[in-house]
Every structure is written in C-alpha cells, then in structure tokens.
Amino acid sequence: MFNPQLNSKGNLNHLLSIEGLSKEKIIQILDTAESFLKIGERDVKKVPILRGKTVCNVFFENSTRTRTTFEIAAKRLSADVINLNVATSSQSKGETILDTINNLIAMNADVFVVRHSSSGAAHFIATHVKPNIHIINAGDGNHSHPTQGLLDAFTIRKYKTNFNKLKVAIVGDILHSRVARSNIHALNILGVPEIRVIAPKTLLPYEIEKLGVHVFHDIDKGLKDADVIMMLRIQNERMDGVMLPSQEEYFKTYGLNQTRLDLAKKDAIVMHPGPMNRGVEIDSAVADSDQSVILPQVTFGIAVRMAVMAILAGQHS
C-alpha cells in the first residue's frame, strides 16, 4: 500500500499519522527521544544538528502549547523557526493551503509543522510538496495527532517499562479526540494487550470496538486494575446539552477523583494531553497528586518532537 509517510528507501519522510508506522519505527523514535531528553537537562540545551535548516510552524488552527513545544524543540536543534498563524492571516484573504505552503517553500523552509481543523490536511500537503520537504502533522481535525501519540507512548515507557502487560484506560470525549485515535493506534502497534475506552455513548464514535478496544460506560468498572489512565479534555462547546448535560453532571459521572483513582492499580499513572479543565474531567487534587505525570508529559513532548524533526530532516530522496 502506498504510504506517503515513507520515502523510496522505506525511511520516514513525513509524520502524518501513527497508522502505517511499524513497531520498529516507533521504537526508533522513542529511543532517539531518550537521547534528546538528556539535552534538556544540560546547561546548554542545544545541539547543532539542524543548523541552517528552517522549521515553519503553520497553524491553521490555534494552539499555543503544541506550537510552543515544537518551537522549543526546533530551537534546541539549532534550526531557525518561523511561526505562522494562518488562522489570522492569508487564509482569511482567500489563499489556498497549497499556495500558502508553496510560498513558504519559496522562502526555502525545510520542515513544516502543520495543524489544521480539517482531517487529512497534512496528508494532502505532504502528497503535493517536493521530495526534500518534510511535513509533520500537529493535529488534523478529529483524525490524528501523531506526536502526541508518540509522547504518550514515551511517557508510558518511562514509568511502566514494558507495554505487553498493561491495561490502559482512555477516558472522555473519544468522539472528537485525535489524541485518543493516535494513542489507540500507537498502543496497539506497541503491543498493549488491553485498551479500554470509557465515555458516555454520545462521546464515542460508531464501531470504536473495531479498533480493538474494550468499551465501558461506567468509569468505576473501566478503571479497575488499570495501569495507565489517560484523561481527555472535555471541550466547553460540547456542553450545550446535546452531548452532555452540564460540567457538574459530567464531573459527577466521569470525572477522575481520588476514590475512582484508587480502583486502578496502586502505581497507576494519570496522564492528560492538556489543557485540562480542573473540576470537569479531573479533580484538582488528582491532577496535582504523586500519580499524575501530566507535567513530565510536557517535558517528554519536547524530546519526542526533537527526535521526529531530526529523523525527518536527515532524510533525502
């Protein structure tokens, strides 16, 4: 099958989604990220590997956190970084996505980090650019957020070492979550034997079981003996009464509090991709507890994004 992520030698040329990546490729990225993590602990948090390269963050949809971590990652690799908030610029003047990208290629950019509200946007760009341009999907619609999936896998490996005995529970708005999709694919590829999704029916995609997950509507049952709990953000716009009655009601039925966390394994870790809503999907005390690895996720995210950029930028067709 044609996989636009790979070049003719089978090496990673773009990162568009977790689907289509082999276990070996994912492990290679995680191992490389391990080396980059050490760079962040030094006084001089910079290596010269992407000196002279230009990384362009093209965000057709706003995201301060993801853009910032990509920017820090690129700068720690010594790349030059351009941030383009297209949501407020040329797109509103009627320019097409490809014209925007081609203009930036004409300015000799090498790597594009793309976020777009439409699923498939990064894929579309990747199939239309010259071979030595590299595209990283930083989130496209409800489809995929591969670097988040990789950094979550990296986080789990840091705390749990092996994937092949774990019970991982993903809780919240699975329907609208590209993070959940990327995580389910990554965990499946890495050999996690039991992936659970916990959500009300209104927030679950149709036929989600086909991705190899166990569905729970009762959070207490779903959290039992879990090793890893991944909380998802509940977006305020879902609280219009159609999908969910109210924030209070959601917290009461699906919010992660200490009593529920105690149903999981004693050494279970709590993850969240951020930004989190305290008192909606997660209790404040749980978010700040010893079991929470939410802030380490941010640190690991930079190392994983450094690894992805360095691996892609080293590829030539």
Partner: protein, 166 residues
C-alpha cells in the same frame, strides 16, 4: 593481516593513563569502544576519578548526507568539567571527525582546562589538525575497512575488521 592483541593494548593504555591522572582529571569514553575501555580500566586506576561518556550523534558533520542514526546510549557527563583535565578515550583514531564532534559537545557542558586524547590505535588517516597524544599502535588500513573494538564470548577485548558500509 593480523590484528593487534586488544587486551594487551588496553592494559598498556591503562598504565599510560595511570601516569597522568590526578584530582583534576575527568575520564570521558567515546561510545561505544571508548566507553568499553573506560569501564574496563576504571577499577585498576590508582585514584578514583570522575567519568562521563559521550555519544556524538547530534554533533556529527555528516548529518546532511547520512541522516540521524542513534545507536548508542545518551551522552552522560554529570560531573563538573570546568577547569578540569579531560582525558578523552576512544578505541580507534582515524580522521579526527568523531573527536571534533566530541570536543564540540564537551564545550556545551563547560570549559575544560585541557583535553588529552588517548586511543589504542591510530590509523594514520588524519583529515583535521587533531591527533591523539596517547596511542599504543599505528596501523595503516584501506579506507573501506572499518576497525572497531568489541568483546568476545568470554568478555575479552578483540579487534574486528569489517568492510565499511558507508
């Protein structure tokens, strides 16, 4: 050709290093061969010295032609290196490019007073104005032959000669 006895060379290198270490010394092994040597000689040194290990992947000068291939463990220099005498240990010295990369990385950790390069074998292929201050043997090989230090099934050092894959 017969390759030198690696065990013997490591022993001689240990003795030479023993002559120059003091309380200002930091021993840094270049992965993977230099790190293997460092771990072997450490118990036999007259003083306990600070150590570190270095993987030059992020500082190499051939990234744009070869891409990124991280095979080793991350660099680890947890000790203070400002004003210290670093003895950089590697198995085989050839062009000097790995040593240049290693020195660039070292300077991202601090400003050592002095760096000494100690290797088992100098291949006589210097391409940069960098040379080992300590080497045990000089050997000339053809460019496409790759010489590296390894361990046999009895954990004894041996030299391995392979046709280069580059």
């Amino acid at each position: 050709m017969t390759l030198p006895n690696a065990e013997k060379l490591v022993e001689i290198l240990k003795n030479k290093i023993n002559e120059i270490i003091d309380d200002k010394t930091v021993l840094i092994g270049v992965q993977r061969g230099g790190e293997l040597i460092l771990q072997r000689i450490l118990p036999g040194l007259k003083d306990t010295v600070a150590t570190g290990s270095i993987d030059t992947s992020f500082y190499r000068d051939d990234f744009s032609s070869r891409g990124l291939k991280v095979k080793n463990k991350p660099s680890k220099i947890d000790t203070e290196i400002n004003d210290k005498h670093i003895i950089l240990i590697d198995d085989v010295f050839s062009t000097g490019r790995t040593v240049r990369a290693a020195m660039n990385e070292i300077f991202d950790y601090g400003r050592p007073a002095k760096i000494t390069l100690a290797v088992l074998i100098d291949r006589n292929e210097q391409e940069l104005p960098i040379a080992p201050q300590i080497y045990i043997e000089k050997i000339s090989l053809s460019k496409n032959q790759h010489l590296e230090l390894g361990l046999d099934e009895n954990k004894k050092f041996i030299f391995q000669l392979k046709d280069s894959h580059v």
